[in-house]
């Protein structure tokens, strides 16, 4: 049986991991290569690198880093941020990424999903969606959650999968940063809708939130988080042990 995945997410700006990290025994806590190595050694099933740089210079630094990460870490790597064209797909895949995550780029140009899936395969295209409730409707937000696109999230996700997105990352803006648990009703709605893997993001505050996620929604494939891992509030080996004891299939290392 396929194991459920635990995925740390690293936001990279100008070559450094932002949001801060707080690990014992790691001197340079903002070095993406060292952090990636740390997570890989400690049981992460996959790593997500988001490029949040705006400048061309920063973008160049990001691809250098990605190359170094891919040379040293042998688990699947997903890359997102600034993916607007097929050339962007090509750029990060050449550096060793396995999957490419699109968000605002697909909103601006919905054909991007289909074109990328055709060229690189569905398994390579991840549709990341930032969703917030507006008047009882799940609404897609763009620009890092700042702009209401007016798009219905369920329709947008369905359309993305029909066009070839092989995986969905669902970021709930409503639960993000609150640390009160994942957005189970929103995730349930998306799991009902699509048959590709769904990755839950936004809201994890502790180990129990992951146990609740996977026991309540067996169709969810993975849990993604950033700061709770970076700050050591949740250690991946302990998290996986707790999930294993709760009967959730986990990759043990």
């Amino acid at each position: 049986m396929i194991t459920k995945r635990i995925i740390p997410c690293l936001d990279v700006k100008d070559g450094r991991v932002v949001k801060g990290v707080n690990f014992l025994g790691l001197n340079d806590v903002s070095d993406p290569v060292k952090l990636g190595q740390y997570y890989s050694d400690n049981g992460a099933d996959e790593l997500v690198f988001y490029d949040i740089t705006a400048s061309a210079e920063g973008r160049g630094l990001f691809t250098d880093i990605l190359t170094r990460v891919a040379e040293t870490i042998f688990i699947p790597l997903t890359v997102g941020g600034g993916i607007n064209t097929l050339d962007d797909f090509d750029r990060v895949l050449k550096c060793g990424a396995d999957k490419v995550s699109v968000n605002s780029g697909a909103i601006r140009n919905p054909a991007l999903i289909g074109e990328a899936a055709k060229r690189y395969g569905d398994q390579c295209v991840v549709l990341s969606v930032d969703v917030k409730r507006v008047n009882g409707q799940f609404r897609v937000f763009a620009k890092g959650g700042r702009e209401d696109t007016g798009l219905d999230a369920l329709e947008w996700i369905k359309r993305g999968v029909d066009n070839g997105a092989g995986e969905i990352v669902l970021n709930s803006i409503d639960t993000d940063g609150v640390k009160q648990g994942f957005d189970l009703p929103m995730l349930a709605a998306v799991c009902e809708l699509v048959s590709v893997p769904v990755i839950a993001s936004g809201g994890a505050g502790g180990v129990q939130d992951f146990v609740t996620l996977f026991t309540t929604l067996p169709k969810v494939d993975a849990g993604l988080a950033a700061s709770i891992f970076h700050f050591g509030e949740v250690q991946i080996p302990g998290l996986k042990q707790a999930l294993h004891e709760a009967g959730i299939p986990m990759r043990r290392i």
Binding site: M1, I2, T3, R5, S40, D45, A70, E71, T72, F74, I75, P76, L93, K94, C95, G96, D98, G121, D122, Q123, G166, E167, S195, V196, P197, D221, R251, R252, I253
Partner: protein, 204 residues
């Protein structure tokens, strides 16, 4: 020296890096002489069978891989490269493979229960066939490796050295003499994957 066959299919960066991580000397090549000079060959591959088989034939390297494998050189096929070791594939039609291992490549969709997602993507546990093949001498039963595929090898019981459970028993690795194949990606399977590559590199 290990020759990684480059026929324009897939990204070989991680494979080369993982070999270099375990201290193996590898080159990515589409030169027949390199394949002949190497002491081991790796046939990678992702994507669709027909397209990949056509591209491999277009380079003429298919005949060199067959010639070298038949001469006893260790050959490792990975993912689609493993599927190409077989006689034929039924991925959207019927296509000839290299015929180095007896068996067929078939669609998993009719074989797995409807509640399971296809492609089979993610980490799954290996069930090792007894006696354990030398390729797995540094890993253990139940270790997880990373899969990405919708088709799998069947009718190859004699060659099967590992399986993975996914509603049905999927062929995860095969061996026939000096020819071995992994359906999963050892170069994306963490330490377990590196240990499988290490065992292959030590094969003589």
């Amino acid at each position: 020296m290990i020759a990684i066959v480059d026929y324009g299919v897939g990204n070989l960066f991680s494979l080369k890096s993982s070999l270099s991580m375990i201290g193996a000397d590898a080159i990515i090549t589409r030169n027949a002489d390199d394949l002949r000079a190497a002491n081991k060959i790796i046939l990678p591959g992702v994507g669709a069978f027909e397209d990949a088989a056509k591209k491999l034939r277009a380079t003429g390297l298919d005949m060199v891989v067959i010639e070298q494998a038949k001469a006893g050189k260790p050959l490792l096929g990975i993912c689609l490269g493993m599927q190409m070791l077989f006689d034929r594939s039924f991925e959207y039609g019927e296509h000839q493979g290299l015929g180095l291992i007896a068996g067929d490549v078939i669609d998993m969709r009719p074989q797995v229960p409807a509640n399971l997602k296809v492609p089979h993507i993610g980490w799954n546990a290996l069930k090792l066939t007894k006696p354990v093949h030398p390729l797995f001498r540094y890993i253990k039963e139940g270790d997880c490796v990373y899969f990405v595929h919708s088709f799998y090898a069947a009718n190859c019981e004699k060659a099967t050295i590992a399986t993975a459970e996914y509603g049905t028993s999927l062929t995860a690795a095969v061996a026939s003499g000096n020819v071995v194949g992994c359906q999963f990606h050892p170069e994306k399977s963490g330490k377990v994957g590196l240990n499988i590559l290490r065992a292959f590199c030590e094969q003589t």
